[in-house]
Point group: C2
Chain length 372, copies 2
Amino acid sequence: MAGKPTINDIARLAGVSKATVSRVLNHKPDVDPTTRDRVMRIVEEQSFVPSITATGLAGGQSHLIGALVPSFTWPFISDIMRGVAEVVGLTSYELVLYSINDRVRENDKSDILDHILATKLTSGLLAIIPGQSSKYVTRLHKYGLPAVIIDDQDLPGDIPWVGTDHQHGSYLATRHLIELGHRRIAHVQGPLKYLCSHERYQGYCQALEEAGLPLDPQLVFEGDFMQPTGRAAGNYFFSLPPEQRPTAIFAAADLMAYGIMAVAEERGLQIPQDVALIGFDGLDSSAHVRPALTTVQQPFYEMGRQATELLLSMLDKPRFSLRSSDAHLSQPSGIGRNGEQRQEPIRIHLATNLIIRESCGSPRRVPFSLPE
Amino acid sequence: MAGKPTINDIARLAGVSKATVSRVLNHKPDVDPTTRDRVMRIVEEQSFVPSITATGLAGGQSHLIGALVPSFTWPFISDIMRGVAEVVGLTSYELVLYSINDRVRENDKSDILDHILATKLTSGLLAIIPGQSSKYVTRLHKYGLPAVIIDDQDLPGDIPWVGTDHQHGSYLATRHLIELGHRRIAHVQGPLKYLCSHERYQGYCQALEEAGLPLDPQLVFEGDFMQPTGRAAGNYFFSLPPEQRPTAIFAAADLMAYGIMAVAEERGLQIPQDVALIGFDGLDSSAHVRPALTTVQQPFYEMGRQATELLLSMLDKPRFSLRSSDAHLSQPSGIGRNGEQRQEPIRIHLATNLIIRESCGSPRRVPFSLPE
DNA sequence: CTGTTAGCGCATTCAA
DNA sequence: TTGAATGCGCTAACAG
């Protein structure tokens, strides 16, 4: 019995058939308690763990879930994966990592999904896949592979989705600047090919509108979430004639805010005295830059958790129960544990958290009160 | 034939037995070229991909490799995983992620390894596991699961290892400071429970000694790689009487260097004018802090690649060949493709790269020449 | 060179 | 409540 004990060994040692061992292992109801105990004792003694491979083959359920991640270039992928791993660790599932190479062409993404579908290794998929590519995931879902999209996507598709409430987060950030007394607030957008960029922009607009402030197109700049476009935005805004210059900037990504900070320093502008700044994402490093950056924190870890729980519940494992959560379900109606009668796709929007630090400063001028 | 075609379908369509299909798929030599072509055509037509699960079960080789990662809290895990994923993507293997929860107690790490061993899901393991815990990995290796340790470890064990040449990297950094004219160079160590902390310290000592500079214990401070201990070190060094104060600091981690920068700023000290600073790790963010941080860049991505290639070669897949590399193999003798006659464990030390930026400044005083 | 026969380790019938 | 048989999709040993 060197190596790994098999179900046969356990059956022999316990004096029962392997069928019975299997029954015990799978918590079948119809097992004599005495027999069950005897089997369990041997199982523990031998620290027997059934082979996932064989279980998968025989049962048709692989007990593996896949995670499709866009390489690891984005810092928050780590946080999402922490959440995913945590939840998966609580179950008998294992996690298979599919990563999209950075240098991959758009078509290849489709190939990867084909591959995932073709190998049928995993019985469910968590997809962190930005922008347009998410449409490929929809196809998976059609072919019967349960999938959950995390955060980003093209259009609200017909596939379960867990992500951030981008609009509300942006609304909070912009509103905070307004409450501090700012009236000329600029916004650096993310790339407009991403839905979330629009959503964040909407939040910005919403706050302005609510406060009765005009939306000045001159104060809106399209970036790409990365530092260099932050610099570009900074240079643009800071070159505006003084009276048209924004007194505050809301950047749709912390990295872009860093770029603005760099430009400000180069030009001798003080943050927050000369211009207030708020970012979006809540990267760890934002607490460490100087001045520390006020930012809208996305609940990445929680996103990973919830998405995994959702997927697991779709896989319909009775031993796993979806925890009550603080999520805002956009469709509060019954989740329909069994996929059959799911009428509308589940979409979970997680709340953001505005972390107020130095970069947005204290109230300036007379803070005017907002409409309730 | 809805769903996924099986090897039976292919066999029928091609008019051969499944054994033959299997032979073709596995590139067996003894197959009639005509037959091979015919089978391949059907395989492509049906875009048939054999089930990894079944292949594993039948062949005893799971075609899965595991990656054990210490949660994702360390920023460079991402880079390592990028390298790993890249190489795995080139093969027919898939990657299973085992992550060690942060909150896990030391014993639980052993449990995870037991779990990995017990489930026998993967046929090889890549372990990124800091410090003491690596001893558990050694056991895996004993039980016949090929494993490669990435970077950190307790003692030079008897297990294949791929990591950074910490000592030489530190040597380069310290030497650079010496060449810039510094004579009082402080060092902030990593936690001494990690071997690499000692190695980095040794590199520091080596450079001092080579330059005939005294090793002043007062200028050595034990940190823990994190920012707060960097602050502590900064406060300590900057409180020293002026003539005992270091003119340069070599921190064994970028994060600790950040802490020093923060303290310097608080005290009105200029970097690099008042004190030069070099970090270790080469985090992306180090290029973006102000002043930009000179640092010893660890080849994380390359580490991931090489470790994976090494593991794959141990798994002895003929279709995969270990690329020639720029690594310094500590044991240049034949690697012994087949595990049998491996006399000594393979240890690959990858070279670091000193990235010179603003934080260490230009030469001060009269740069004195070093012994060749 | 190729087909046939056995399993790999387990879950799931079907009888008993 | 349990045991015996059958098969998941594939590889491997054996013949032919």
